[in-house]
């Protein structure tokens, strides 16, 4: 799975956690999860759970709040 495939799958997760009218289809790797997408602490929690399920990546040892941008999340998924 390349970075673009991961980004597309992450967009499906963002569709669940982003409720403020942000156009998810146009989200790029550079988007800041908190500031640009408006994902709050509860959204981050769901994001972590969904990443575990979708990508089989163990998120137990990482605080979701350490991810600043979408690229950070993709990096983490690629490394694990």
């Amino acid at each position: 799975m390349n970075r673009n495939d991961i980004l597309e799958k992450l967009k499906d997760i963002f569709k669940i956690v982003v409720n403020n009218g942000v156009d998810i289809a146009s989200v790029t790797e550079g988007a800041n999860i908190g500031l640009d997408l408006g994902v709050n602490s509860i959204g981050l929690l769901y994001m972590a759970i969904a990443i575990e399920k979708e990508f089989g990546v163990d998120m137990a040892d990482v605080a979701p709040s350490t991810f600043k941008t979408v690229a950070d999340v993709i990096d983490y998924i690629e490394k694990h």
Partner: protein, 514 residues
């Protein structure tokens, strides 16, 4: 005009048989007698080892806490801290302290040892019950000055009943922090009768409320977790499970199949999106009611869940009113309303602000004489919320007049707290933190600053360079703020803020979209 509803106004929403189960109780010992007389043999609380405690076990363990306090000769009426995670033990020790006739001070589990020490002084703790896993958090406390004990005392055996049936309804029962971890935290003192009133109010307006299954994600140190989740669950002979690992939230819901969820709007939004995408099975497949509050609730949540066949009830509550002020039993017809004022309360609107009084009102803030002077007017509590009633006396919250920004996840941000930090920067003369949206529509915090000319002159920076420097220095403060307190936008003003005659900055009133 004074608004109120009578108990019988809620009868039409519930069957006669079920409605008759709402009996009045005035104290925690009366509640425990109610449990003993009605629910022995039933399942009460899921424990962390996956077993379930029955009401028998629960009452037995609560009695042990009372017995231990008596054995240690703890004086009744004194303050005892409760430091546990969301768990069976939290419930046992908090109820045990109150049933003994002492005052349970509910301490958020994320506090570190320094703040726990500070709380022990601020709340004049005479003792502390804590989870053994939190022992390090008690390291600065002196066991010669206050009683310290963990959950292992539940292994003790005692003969006799140590629950104090002489506790009076107007005695203090517990102290619950309000203002949370943001801004200046205050402890609201709730009497036994206020606590029981809040607990009972949780039943009004629901078609059925007896013997439900709760799955609780709200902290037990928050009134929504402690009163609406835990106490109403026990009062109705229901079974409650606590979330012990947030990553296992959805697995838990499949396993426990809750019939009622008590949640904040930010979680409700995600749940609605998931339920629409994957079906209600994602939430366990058995959810009948969702009680939603602690932050403004959007109408689309009410309609969205009702379309899926889930009774979604927005409500309005305050720590100061034992959580439960109003609830909306008719969301389909009034989706933007927080519903009908629960019984035993009165409300009026003064200058747009909602004022309340009633049986569930706090006794006052602990050791806060100034706050206690300004929080009330002629015996009415000033909620700080801008509100209106419609022709059917349904309540609508339309904004905030108090200096608090409420985020969708229920966190309260105190702009004054962040402004204090910004104002500590030498080049800032004054600042104002408000809620804003970024260009993509996301909720963010914005700070406007007026610069201190004398200091700015010494910086030898002008124009873009100055803006860049000021912005970067202010955004560095984010490192010392909690995630949800972070500033995203800095605006440098070229003139001073609009000010009141007392020279205070006039803070814009927040108005919600209905």
């Amino acid at each position: 005009m004074i608004y109120s509803f009578d108990r019988k106004d809620f009868a039409k929403f519930t069957s006669n048989e079920e409605f008759a189960k709402i009996v009045d109780l005035k104290t925690v010992p009366e509640l425990l007698n109610h449990l003993k007389n009605n629910y022995l043999g039933l399942k009460a609380i899921g424990k962390r080892d996956e077993t379930v405690a029955t009401y028998d076990e629960l009452l037995n363990d609560i009695n042990k806490v009372c017995a231990y306090l008596k054995e240690k000769e703890v004086k009744k009426g004194t303050n005892i801290g409760i430091l546990f995670d969301n768990s069976y033990e939290f419930a046992i020790f908090a109820l045990g302290v109150m049933a003994y006739g002492a005052v349970a001070v509910l301490l958020p589990m994320q506090l570190d040892e320094k703040i726990i020490f500070g709380c022990s002084k601020k709340y004049v703790l005479n003792g502390l019950f804590y989870l053994s896993g939190f022992k390090a958090k008690t390291s600065l406390l002196n066991p010669n000055e206050l009683m310290l004990a963990d959950e292992s005392i539940l292994n003790n055996s005692y003969d006799g009943c140590f629950i104090d049936n002489n506790v009076k309804e107007n005695d203090a029962a517990c102290i619950i922090m309000t203002g949370g971890t943001t801004g200046k935290s205050k402890g609201a003192i709730l009497s036994h009768t206020a606590l029981m009133c809040g607990m009972i109010n949780g039943c009004y307006g629901l078609s059925n409320f007896m013997h439900l299954t709760y799955y609780s994600m709200m902290p037990l140190t928050h009134v929504f977790g402690f009163i609406r989740n835990l106490l109403t669950s026990l009062y109705t002979g229901s079974l409650i499970y606590f979330n012990h690992d947030r990553m296992k939230m959805f697995e838990d819901m499949k396993k426990y199949a809750p019939s009622i969820l008590v949640i904040v709007p930010a979680l409700a939004e995600i749940f609605l999106n998931l339920a629409k995408a994957y079906g209600l099975g994602f939430l366990g497949g058995n959810v009948k009611h969702i009680i939603c509050g602690a932050a403004p609730v959007s109408s689309y949540l009410v309609l969205g869940f009702n379309n899926l066949g889930v009774n979604f009830c927005p409500g309005y509550g305050l720590t100061e009113f034992a959580n439960m002020v109003s609830g909306n039993p008719d969301g389909i017809n009034y989706p933007a309303s927080v519903g009908m004022l629960f019984p035993d309360q009165e409300a009026k609107i003064v200058d747009g602000e909602l004022l309340l009084r009633g049986r569930n009102m706090l006794m006052g803030y602990f050791n806060e004489p100034e706050e206690n002077k300004t929080a009330f007017v002629d015996g009415w509590f000033k909620t700080g919320d801008l509100a209106r009633f419609d022709e059917n006396n349904n309540l609508y919250i339309i904004g905030r007049s108090k200096d608090v920004i409420i985020l969708a996840n229920g966190e309260n941000v105190s702009p004054a707290y962040i402004e204090t930090k910004v104002n500590e920067l030498p080049f800032v003369q004054d600042s104002l933190v408000t809620e804003d949206k970024n260009e993509l529509g996301a909720q963010i915090l914005k700070v406007e600053v007026v610069l201190r000319a004398a200091v700015v002159n010494q910086l030898n920076k002008t124009g873009e360079e100055l803006v860049k420097f000021v912005t970067s220095e202010i955004l560095k403060l984010n490192d010392s703020l909690l995630d949800y307190e972070r500033l995203s936008k800095v605006v440098i003003r070229d003139k001073d803020f609009e000010r009141s005659p007392a020279m205070k900055i006039i803070r814009p009133k927040k108005v919600y979209n209905e």
